[in-house]
Symmetry: C2
Subunit: 136 residues, 2 copies
């Protein structure tokens, strides 16, 4: 897509520190890393959010991330994918972060506030009903 920085990285118009590539996925080092080894995995074909990425691309992504984890010999790490501005998505081209964490004071820091009062029944029913509609 025109004016998409990640599309320009895939095409080579903008340089990147490429580490891996498959038919549908391109991987490179993050230039604003939050830990050593922080890298990004993106679909070669533009899609803004994860649910807009083609299945054949999605099926390759985690396998490629696993290969990079093994190649980097990472023991502790987070894999994060953000969709939507309110969910911390900064570039509007779907991307997966691999964030190694060698020490507890680096890398991804989360504020995790579980709340057992959140009503899950209705949304679970909706998901099941729509899945049934779509796949059976």
């Amino acid at each position: 897509m025109e004016d998409c920085i990640f599309c320009k990285i895939v095409s080579g118009e903008i340089p990147s520190n490429k580490i891996h590539e498959s038919d549908h996925v391109y991987a490179f080092m993050d230039i604003s890393p939050i830990s050593k080894g922080h890298c990004l995995f993106i679909p070669k074909v533009h899609a803004e959010k994860m649910h807009e990425v083609a299945d054949e691309t999605l099926s390759e992504i985690l396998i490629m991330i696993k290969q990079v984890i093994n190649a980097g010999v990472f023991e502790n790490y987070n894999v994060l994918q953000n969709n939507g501005i309110i969910a911390h998505q900064e570039v509007k081209h779907a991307h997966w972060h691999l964030i190694p964490k060698e020490h507890s004071d680096e890398g991804l820091k989360l504020e995790w506030k579980p709340n057992k009062e959140i009503e899950q029944t209705r949304i679970a029913d909706k998901i099941r009903a729509n899945l049934l509609f779509e796949f059976e």
Copy 2:
């Protein structure tokens, strides 16, 4: 694996609010959600960390998450997978969180501190060298 709570959920020994299932993946609502619709995707075969999960399982996971995003009609969401205690992994059976975020004051909150001083060259060289050794 004996004494693994997620293995017991897959086998039915511990009940869960199941929403989806494929040959290798099981999906259910999180009982300690951080937002409405927060759910988990786990390999049916035990593996502690993502890089220990079989490729045929990894290839199904994001496709199943996509199906649930579409079924739940989620617009803004995070997909997160944690590996290792220092990286916030709480259950030692690999799992992917799908965390919808309808409002900016709910769901996943991140502390994101990029640091352009982090040295990425050597780790990128190591990843490329090991990938080359493994795949060519």
